[in-house]
């Protein structure tokens, strides 16, 4: 691939990098693994770039590869951090400070989401990105009905985790 392609690709990705950062935010627990996963996603998207025909939106195409990288291709020893205490692991995140009551509530929701499985996080990501169920189902390779059912179960699961967190306080 020539230098122009590289520059064009880097320009596109620089412009739309937040879609990948958002995936990293769900799947990683510190800034190093965030950067690590981001880099792996960039490599995977770049490897697939010759087949990008421009029929789909670049962002749609890139987030699918990004999600697949997080779910299937990326393996970091830092994943073991999931077994440590959640509060400790969250201390490493410098994404934002939580002050108001709403922000504290948000922190609780993020903590609950972080406890979900890789697949559940993928569903949440697409839900938060406002993807419809047809797209969610197609991206994961499941039926639309089952995507809806699973999403409802995840909502209940998040409620339960938050309730448990509240109970543990």
């Amino acid at each position: 691939m020539n230098k122009n392609n590289e520059i064009e690709f880097a320009r596109l990705l620089e412009q739309h990098q937040n879609i990948l950062h958002k995936i990293c935010k769900l799947y990683t627990y510190d800034i190093d693994s965030h950067k690590d996963l981001f880099q792996e996603m960039v490599i995977q998207i770049w490897k697939a770039y010759p087949n990008f025909k421009g029929e789909a939106k670049f962002t749609t195409w890139a987030y699918r590869i990004g999600l697949n990288t997080a779910i299937s291709l990326y393996r970091s020893s830092k994943h073991r951090i999931t077994t440590v205490n959640w509060d400790i692991s969250l201390e490493n995140i410098t994404y934002e400070d939580y002050n108001s009551e709403e922000e504290q509530q948000l922190q609780q929701i993020y903590k609950a989401v972080k406890q979900l499985s890789d697949i559940e996080k993928a569903l949440i990501y697409m839900y938060l990105e406002d993807k419809d169920y047809a797209e969610i189902a197609e991206t994961l390779g499941i039926s639309e009905v089952n995507a809806r059912v699973k999403m409802n179960r995840i909502k209940t699961k998040i409620k339960n985790i938050i309730a448990q967190q509240g109970g543990n306080k």
């Binding site: 195409w61 699918r64 291709l73 697949i119």
Partner: protein
């Protein structure tokens, strides 16, 4: 407002992320991937190579006896054609792994490459065990195959006894070898692929469970 709606509102407003410049991204393009698929590819290549090396390294004795000549031709045909088939299959399956596929299909395609390598190792185990059986029988019955010729007819019962004894010994010896080899094989797979594919298997099982309505 429920939890996810609150999160969604915040999520869509949130722009507070690290910002990589175009130059940083350009630098990333030339970094080495740490993808699981890359490791599977390397391990599978080593396994394929090992199979070929075994085939090359397996001692072949030139013997004028027609039995040994036919045996050697068969070993050569099987010993080269089957690994070539597996290598072809490996690259065909490997090319199907595309990160743009849906997650379930991607996981299935990765598993297919691994299964191909697993089948290849099983084939090698079977093939070399079979060769060991044949060689042990040959050794017990007589060296250089002289008992496989006309002598066999003239020494009837004695050789038949030795043959049965040899066959039984070979079966016991082979069964033990197969058991040991299977144990080592399982252990190897558990260590190598268990480590690499734990996450993939878990995610695949979850997708299957979603489809099954569990």
């Amino acid at each position: 407002m429920n939890e996810l709606d609150l999160l969604k509102t915040h999520w869509q407003k949130d722009q507070d992320y690290i910002k990589f410049k175009k130059e940083d991204i350009l630098g990333m393009l030339h970094k080495s991937s740490s993808s699981i698929v890359k490791w599977i590819f390397i391990i599978c290549c080593l396994e394929l190579l090992l199979g070929i090396l075994l085939n090359v390294a397996f001692p072949t004795k030139h013997n004028p006896n027609i039995y040994f000549k036919i045996k050697q031709v068969l070993i050569d045909i099987i010993g080269y054609s089957i690994p070539i088939y597996f290598i072809y299959k490996f690259f065909t399956l490997f090319r199907k792994i595309k990160s743009i596929n849906n997650t379930k299909l991607l996981l299935e395609n990765i598993a297919a490459v691994r299964n191909n390598a697993e089948l290849y190792i099983s084939y090698n185990l079977l093939f070399y065990t079979f060769l060991m059986i044949i060689q042990s029988i040959e050794k017990l019955v007589g060296s250089n195959g002289k008992y496989f010729g006309d002598d066999f007819l003239t020494h009837g019962w004695t050789y038949l006894g030795i043959l049965i004894f040899g066959l039984l010994t070979a079966i016991i010896f082979t069964s033990l070898t197969i058991l040991l080899a299977r144990f080592i094989f399982k252990l190897y797979y558990k260590i190598i692929y268990g480590f690499l594919l734990k996450k993939l298997n878990k995610n695949y099982e979850e997708l299957v469970a979603i489809e099954a309505g569990e």
